[in-house]
Symmetry: C2
Subunit: 99 residues, 2 copies
């Protein structure tokens, strides 16, 4: 499985636009092949920081996601609305337990 | 590296208590050996859902974290404040890229 974590930091004046765009992106992504989960949340300690957590079946599915035109537009729009472009970390992950 | 994701769903009447407890737990956890990051955020689509994302250096560090008395108390308190006990998934993870 692939886990992706990422975040963007909105500006005071772009907070609502970032939230709207983020939800739209999450909903579209969930419908893509290989997307196990995709969600966006707001850091409790820093509410302008939007946190993304995604699970994909494999790297091919994630690479296909990155190639989707809407994903590229999302990244570009976020970069223009935020202090800096989205920061994204990609992990190969295996479930090791649950509680 | 170990990645832990988890969430709890607060009740309307426990929202503030859950947030306070979550931040306290995150701050304590960050000071523990092997904790790379530990954060809590609120699901944009379901704000009563608090999302935790943690990174630990290895499984031994995470197991030590679970044994800390404060962690056990945190889980118990959360269970009493939320609809159900915290749900936690644990992954062995390797960085596979960044963007």
């Amino acid at each position: 499985m692939i886990i992706v974590t990422g975040h963007v930091i909105a500006r005071q004046d772009t907070e609502e636009a970032v939230e709207r765009l983020a939800v739209e992106h999450v909903l579209c992504s969930r419908a893509e092949p290989g997307c196990i989960s995709h969600e966006v949340s707001r850091d409790v300690q820093q509410p302008l920081r939007f946190v993304f957590v995604e699970r994909w079946s494999d790297m091919a599915a994630l690479q296909a996601h990155f190639r989707v035109e809407a994903s590229r537009k999302f990244a570009q729009s976020m970069a223009s609305l935020c202090h800096e472009p989205p920061q994204i970390d990609i992990y190969e992950a295996e479930m090791a337990g649950a509680r």
